[in-house]
Structure formats: structure tokens, C-alpha cells
């Protein structure tokens, strides 16, 4: 794997700011705490990794960051907005315009082609039909999958499916990319390709990437690495200073 990105200058305010977030799941026996007062920040042009053992709350944290889950307590601001005050429709709009997801298992939509998988986020974002094809082609070429454009998604290999999932998260040009084990099913070469692409986006596009990983080599390419254990943030390691703050790209 290549070295971490070069050190950018310090930002005025972080893109993502989570403060004292707690969350618990409820079952018949009572509340099961998953996150216990977690606070973290991710700046513009920054890539952050969340590491920790299985069941420590990494995916829950990522779901909260993606507005898929409302935390029991705490605050969450991103792009200068208090996101926990948004209603259901506004949350969907924020996801649509500002967030791209890569899920743990690649989760492509069944009975669709690669093209159609990438088209869905564009449909929901209201992108015109004439603009969709070039954007899909361009995004697929970044993950070396342009030759699979109209291929049925269920006939792709696991690695190809994962790259399609990455491309689908990027096609809408979101400002926040949340990835749960994005390289989990990829070989070294394609892991590097995906991480290179994330790094390029972070450097060029003024975005933030938060990824959950067990792979120290993937984490080594991130500006910040957070370690979670039993719902608590046990340590934070900053590899590079934050880049300068620039204008917002999406307007939720």
C-alpha cells in the first residue's frame, strides 16, 4: 500500500462533528448499550478509519453518521447543520445529496444491471437522464469496471460487486462517504485501487471519508484512526493535520 496523503493545512471547522453520542438497542430483557458517549471529528479533505473488534459498535456509529439511525443521546453536526433536528424527509434529502454508502456486504440490487445499480442514486437525486450515462461511465471507469456496464450484477465476482458498490456510493458525488469494510472482499490490487480512488477524491474533491476497517494497511492510509472498544472510543491517532476548509459542495 502507498503512504498516507501529504499533510494539508489546518481546517477552520470539521465537516463531521459527533459529540457524546450514545445509543442502545432494546430487546425484551432491556436496553443494550452499543455506543457510550462517543465523540469524533472528521475534517474536509480528510479520511478517517474506525477500528475495533466485532460488535464494538462500529457499524452502529456509521449508521448514525449516515442518518440511518437516530442516537439515543448526543449531538451530530455535519456541513454546519445539526442533523438530529431533521425530519424523516429532510434526512432522506441529506442522504441523497451529501452521503454515499458502501455497505459491509456489497448489497447490490437484485435483478438489475451494473448500470441500473448506479442509476438509482441519480434518479433519487433528480439528475437528468441525459447526464446519467456519462456520470455512470466515468465513475465505473474509476473502479476499472466500464466493461461491465450492462452486466447483470448478480453474475459479477465478489470483488467486482464490491467495486460496483463503491462506484454507486461515488456516482452522486457526495461530500461524505461512509464505507463499512469497503475492501473486505477485494484482493490487494483492487483494495489499493479503491483506496487510491478514495484518497484522490479526498485530495481533489473537498470531501470526507469515514470507513470501518479491520485492515491496518487500509487504516494506515487515513488521516485519523479511531479505536472503538465496547462502545467506547479508547484512542485516536492523527496521522496528518487537517486540510484548509473550503466551500460546501452539496447544498442539503
Amino acid at each position: 500500500m502507498s503512504s498516507p496523503p501529504s499533510a494539508p493545512s489546518l481546517a477552520k471547522s470539521p465537516l463531521i462533528e459527533v459529540s457524546e453520542v450514545s445509543h442502545e438497542y432494546h430487546n425484551g430483557a432491556g436496553a443494550i448499550p452499543v455506543l457510550k458517549g462517543v465523540s469524533l471529528t472528521v475534517g474536509y479533505n480528510e479520511m478517517a478509519a474506525v477500528m475495533g473488534p466485532s460488535g464494538c459498535g462500529k457499524s452502529t456509529l456509521l449508521s448514525i453518521l449516515g442518518l440511518l439511525l437516530v442516537p439515543s443521546r448526543g449531538s451530530y453536526r455535519a456541513l454546519g447543520r445539526d442533523l438530529l433536528t431533521l425530519n424523516r424527509s429532510q434526512q432522506a434529502e441529506f442522504r441523497r445529496k451529501c452521503i454515499g454508502f458502501v455497505f459491509q456486504s456489497c448489497n447490490l440490487i437484485e435483478n438489475t444491471t451494473v448500470y441500473e445499480n448506479l442509476e438509482f442514486p441519480l434518479i433519487y437525486a433528480g439528475v437528468r437522464r441525459s447526464e446519467r450515462a456519462p456520470r455512470i461511465r466515468e465513475t465505473l471507469s474509476r473502479v476499472n469496471l466500464l466493461h461491465r456496464l450492462h452486466h447483470p450484477s448478480n453474475l459479477l465476482s465478489g470483488g467486482e460487486q464490491q467495486r460496483v458498490a463503491v462506484a454507486r456510493a461515488l456516482v452522486n458525488r457526495p461530500q461524505i462517504i461512509l464505507a463499512d469494510e469497503p475492501t473486505g472482499q477485494l484482493d490487494r490490487e483492487h483494495s489499493q485501487l479503491v483506496m487510491d480512488h478514495f484518497q484522490q477524491l479526498v485530495e481533489e474533491e473537498n470531501i470526507a471519508v469515514v470507513l470501518v476497517t479491520h485492515d491496518p494497511q487500509v487504516a494506515a492510509r487515513c488521516h485519523r484512526v479511531y479505536f472503538l472498544e465496547d462502545g467506547l472510543l479508547t484512542s485516536e491517532r492523527t496521522l496528518n493535520p487537517l486540510p484548509p476548509h473550503s466551500s460546501l459542495r452539496c447544498n442539503p
Binding site: S63, G66, L68, L69, R88, S89, A92, E93, R95, R96, K97, I99, F101, F103, N107, I109, E110, N111, E116, F120, P121, I123, Y124, A125, G126, R128, R129, R168, N172
Partner: protein
Amino acid sequence: MTKLFDILRVSSRQVVRQRRRYFGVILSIALGTAGLIAVSTMSRDVKKNLNQDLELLGGCTLIKAYFEEFLPDRHQSSRVQSFEDRTVEAVRGYPGVDLASLSGVKRGAAASVWRNRTEHYTLFGVDEYFWDVNSFYPAAGTLFGQGEVQGRQKVCVLGAELARRIFGEHDAVGSFISIDRDIFRVVGILGGLGVGDRTQFAFIPLTTALDRIAGMTRDRLYIRCATWDDVEGVADHMESLVSSHQSSDRLRVVFAKEQLKRVKRIVWWVEWFIYLSVLATLVLGGFGIWNGMMSAVQARTREIGLKKAMGAEDGDILAQFLTEALCLSLGSAVIGIGFGRTIMEVIGKLLSSPPQEDLFLRFMMVGLLFALILGIGAGFYPALRASRMEVVKAIRYE
């Protein structure tokens, strides 16, 4: 608008790609719609045809209107009325009337002499429609038609029993007999399921009868209705129809009320049976959509979660699944309309009666409307359930 078009495109694509899964539903709705269209559009023609075939039931679509010779409370010598031409035309043009025949009967018996033997019988003067109205056909020879009636020819048709009485074993057709003081050529012997006691009567053209037979009047109309549903309406309005053109004094209208009732009851049950079958098929289709969509929502839970994570709103998911249900029901109905049209054409060919386009269009719209209601009714709850799913639960669904 773009989004709506996209949802429609994505939904129809899903239905087409999963057509094997929905095959039973598509078939059920298509057959139901086809049945609805075929039964509703062609039932009148089928009834009409059935009516012609059901003469063995006693001609229950036949109405006889006649002027009574005398009324119990009046003097017997009062003059019998005749149907005037304008009355006959009005009856022929009345809705529900298929055909009407004007005829008369000689007051008192007619007489024929054959080989010095005299036979007395009832003599009818009839027009060219008489045979068709009564569903008579020639048992031998022919039945005289328009040419003979307009030409006032001296030809006659004999009932089979009368022919036997007069001619014995001798072939009656082509023979000449005297009727009162004129000589007539026998052109045919009367046949038909509803002949009844007419087997002992003789029939000559009405025009000839009025010219040559003393005591002949135009006092009876035989009216054939298009279907048994028309009989009571036509019979009820006959008096007012006649009275609007001439006096209806002594007019009597009779039809086979009991037979009609029985036929209508049988047909009512048959019709309801067919309509209930059609309805059951369509409702089964509706349950199929419900079941199909519920299982689709279950099977596609992760897809729903993914789409929501991409930014789809609850309304987008609701619209997608509802549109899929509508594509399924309306698409099936369109196939059913095609089937229905084919069935109509086949029935039309068999009955030699072209399908009525206005009825087809009307029931095509009914079929589509029913499919729309079915699609919304059966698809709404599964779609609502899909739209209300929590994203994280949906994505983690195994």
C-alpha cells in the same frame, strides 16, 4: 415528472423481469378481464342466438297482438278492427322488436274440394315475414315469400295434417286445390318445432286473401322480440303504441308468460354463475397481487433499505411498489382485453353477428378501471409496509 417516469420505467422493468414469479397472477387477471369483456359484450348476441335455438321451449320471445272479434259485454256483430300500415311500421321500428308479421284469419271455415271430397279448415292470410317470425320452415316444397305476396299470387302452404286429410298419400306439393271459389297451387308443407295446431291450417298470401277471401281481416300481429328481456317491455307498451296510431279498442296482447319467466330464471342463474366466475377469477388475481407484493416486499427488504440509504423517501418506495402492482394488474388487463377481443371475434363469427364496438369500448374501460382498483387495492398495503421500513433493519435483513 422525470422521477415519475423513472419510477414507472423501473417498476415495469421489475414486473417484466419477474414475470415467471407473477405468471399465475397475470393469467388470472387476464382471463378474468377477457371473460368480463366477452360475456358482457356478446351476451345479447348469444341470447339472441340462443333464443332462435330455443324454439323448442315454445317461442317465449313471441308476442301475439290481435283484435278480439267481440267482447263479452258487447254485441257480437260489432266489426273487427284491422292493423293499419302505420301501426305495423311503428311496431317494427320499436326497440327490442326483431321482426313483426301481419296476418289475418278467415272468419268461419274455408273449404276445399279434392276428388269430390270437401274439407273444412282454418285459412290464414299471411305476409312474407310470417315464417321467420314463427320460426317455421318447409317440411316439403317452399314457403311463399315477398314475390308471391306482392304479386298477389294464388299459392298456398298447407299444414301437414291438412295436406294428409285432403291429398291422402298423394304428393300435395305442386297440386292445385280449390279454396272457396279460387284455385290455388300448393307450394309447400309447413314444418317447424312450434307448428302446433297449425298443422291443420292453410296459408295464403295476405294480399291475395284480402282480395279474394270473404271475411278476411288484418287483425293479428306476430311480433318476434330480439331477446326474452325485451318481451315484457314490448308487450306492456303495445297498447299505447297502437293507440298512438289507431284505436286500440279490443286489442289483446298475449305471450308465453310462464315459459318466459322460466327461461329468464334459468338464464339469470347461468349469467350470475358466469359473472361470479369472472369476479372470482379477478378477485383471485387481486389476492395474487397482494400475496405477490407482500412476498416481494419481504424478499426485497434489503433492496428497500439500500434505496432508502441512497436517499429514496418513503413516498418513492411507496410509489415504486404501488406502480409495480399497477403495472401487474393493468398489464394483465391489457392482455385480457386482447384475449377478450379474440373471443368476441370468434363468437361473432360463430353467430354471424359482428361484435358491437361501443359495448366493447365500454367494457374495455370497465376492465381497465377494475384492474386499476384491483392494483391499488391489493398493492397499497404491501407498498405502505415497504415504505415504512426502518433502513438499518432493512439493510441487515437476512
